[in-house]
């Protein structure tokens, strides 16, 4: 059974310096509040894993939590570039950032392999691109029946995965609906998991399109209403597009970013 915890306790217990950490949520249900708590607890040397390292990872990278990033698309969706990500890659600020870069199909399959207890996944992908030149984690594999060459990628097994969901019950069963992305796979691929939810309820009323993660497959659940802001939680909130647009200016310069971080993360409480 998942433990019900506060966000601060959940991060303190489950996210350690040097960990491989995945925060997932595909545009929808991005665990921003948990990201801020990781920054607030000043985690260091993290390997951050995420298909779409958007604003939440721009913040973690700019705050200096990350040593390495494993990803497939790093931008501010619908707005433009991630300036903190760029500054780290182009100028090693606030510290150098190693990159391991994949395609979405590759990352999704790496989580699938992790969730499946397999050491690798097979896909038709990457062929002819320059991506395999820059990592040893993309390799050819031959079909033992047809002789055809396909592509293999190793399983992702994060030390801890953090996701946001709409609801959980008191046994820690987690309910997600709307765009469910790669969250189930990311949680099941990880050694530990923390789920922040809009609310904890007595009974999970079934909802069309739901994914339910049984409580016995989750380490801890924390009630964090609005924990996806400025992303959204279908049925609870809508995306704060103004925030994403404003982030472009906030993040463009190191001093405005640091001022934002100081005011909105370090001095803020557990809830963003």
């Amino acid at each position: 059974m998942a433990k019900l915890v506060s966000l601060a306790d959940g991060v303190a217990d489950l996210v350690h310096d040097g960990d491989v950490v995945a925060l997932e949520g595909f545009t929808h249900l991005i665990p921003f509040a948990a990201g801020h708590e990781i920054i607030r607890q000043r985690r260091q040397e993290l390997t951050l894993v995420r298909m779409t390292p958007d604003v939440v990872y721009d913040q973690l990278i700019g705050a200096g939590c990350a040593r390495r990033l494993v990803f497939s698309w790093g931008g501010n969706p619908g707005v433009g570039s991630l300036h903190r990500f760029r500054d780290a890659v182009q100028h090693a600020w606030p510290r150098p950032l190693e990159l391991e870069e994949h395609s979405h199909a590759g990352m999704a399959n790496r989580y699938v392999a992790g969730a499946s207890g397999l050491p690798f996944a097979v896909l038709r992908g990457y062929t002819g691109t320059d991506l395999p030149r820059h990592t040893t984690n993309i390799r050819p594999i031959t079909c033992p029946f047809t002789g055809e060459t396909l592509t293999a990628v190793p399983a992702l097994r994060p030390d801890v995965t953090v996701v946001h969901a709409q609801r959980a019950d008191r046994a820690g069963n987690v309910q997600i609906w709307g765009i469910t992305g790669v969250q189930k796979e990311a949680v099941l691929a990880a050694h530990r998991s923390l789920v922040t939810v809009e609310e904890i309820v007595d009974e999970l009323e079934p909802v069309p399109g739901q994914v339910v993660l049984p409580g016995w497959a989750v380490s801890a659940v924390a009630e964090v209403p609005g924990g996806a802001h400025p992303s959204y939680a279908q049925g609870y909130s809508v995306r704060d597009n103004d925030f994403y647009r404003a982030w472009d200016a906030v993040s463009r310069h190191r001093d405005t970013f640091r001022a934002w971080l100081d005011q909105h993360v370090y001095r803020a409480g557990a809830v963003a």
């Binding site: 760029r86 395609s103 691109t129 279908q234 049925g235």
Partner: protein, 281 residues
């Protein structure tokens, strides 16, 4: 890349009597792209211009266009422009919402999607695309771009690819600094040698006109200009020695209806703060 065009050049339309005959180069590009989508096909849509073009097509000549978003929304029917590939309107209106692994593995990879729409930061004469790094080398690039996303496999596996990209010599480059998504590789036969099963780029639609691969050489060739654009403008906007088709045509300008629908769609693309929490459905 910004979703909104930063170009403000306006072309004078063909009909002085039509109050809507003013259009921007981006509007012409979007309309030209929308026209390429046949009704009933399944189309893998990225956010920005591809999404606008696909939704314009669905609102005009292609009501049964099947929009597939990489967030897992199959057959989305948004009544406004989605603001991201994971906009709630896509899930709310989709025939089915599936996981991200499923959209890539069960839907894109086997070749079920007819058309893939891609953008590009750099593009070469064989339609190879870079969206990863520009300048310097990979570990110390001059400009770090977002990277691959779904593009490499969209480019590999869709029945055909349509690229939508503004034309200028920095983008239309002799050699891309990084091959993020393969077009025709180094030329004829390369896709087959690589085992790519989709057809590759069929069209490149720009703010100046339309390029198509030569059936023999696979080299992108200017086949159509938007109204008011000259071949010289297109060649000047291309870093390689751009081939021009013998029978170069000029496309039709946007119709009043196309422009009206497009602008109505664009008007739905407002921002907005997150609403306060609502009770669940």
């Amino acid at each position: 890349m910004s979703e909104r065009s930063e170009r403000t050049i306006r072309h004078r339309g063909v009909s002085e009597t039509n109050a809507m005959a003013d259009w921007t180069a981006d509007e012409m590009m979007t309309v030209a792209a929308a026209r390429q989508l046949r009704d009933g096909v399944a189309c893998f849509v990225g956010i920005g211009l591809p999404s606008t073009a696909a939704n314009l097509a669905r609102a005009t000549h292609a009501p049964n266009l099947v929009l597939i978003y990489e967030s897992g929304c199959l057959g989305a029917k948004p009544d406004r422009l989605p603001l991201s590939i994971g906009d709630g309107i896509l899930a709310d209106t989709a025939d089915a919402v599936v996981s991200v692994p499923e959209v890539f593995n069960y839907w894109l990879q086997p070749g079920r999607i007819d058309v893939g729409f891609l953008g590009a930061a750099q593009l070469d004469r064989y339609g190879n695309i870079n969206t990863t790094v520009v300048g310097g080398d990979y570990d110390a690039p001059k400009v770090r771009l977002p990277g691959a996303g779904g593009a490499p496999e969209i480019a590999a596996s869709c029945g055909e690819v349509v690229v939508i990209v503004r034309q200028n010599p920095r983008t239309f480059t002799e050699r891309v600094d990084f091959v993020t998504s393969v077009g025709y590789g180094s030329g004829p036969g390369e896709r087959e040698r690589l085992g790519l099963r989709g057809g590759g780029p069929r069209l490149v639609i720009t703010d100046l006109g339309v390029l198509e691969p030569d059936p023999v050489t696979c080299e992108l060739t200017l086949t159509r200009l938007h109204p008011g654009v000259t071949p010289e403008q297109a060649r000047a906007a291309t870093a390689w020695d751009l081939a021009v088709a013998e029978r170069l045509t000029t496309g039709e300008p946007p119709t009043a209806r196309e422009l009206a629908v497009l602008r109505a769609l664009e008007a739905t693309k407002h921002g907005g703060r997150g609403e306060p929490r609502r009770p669940p459905p």
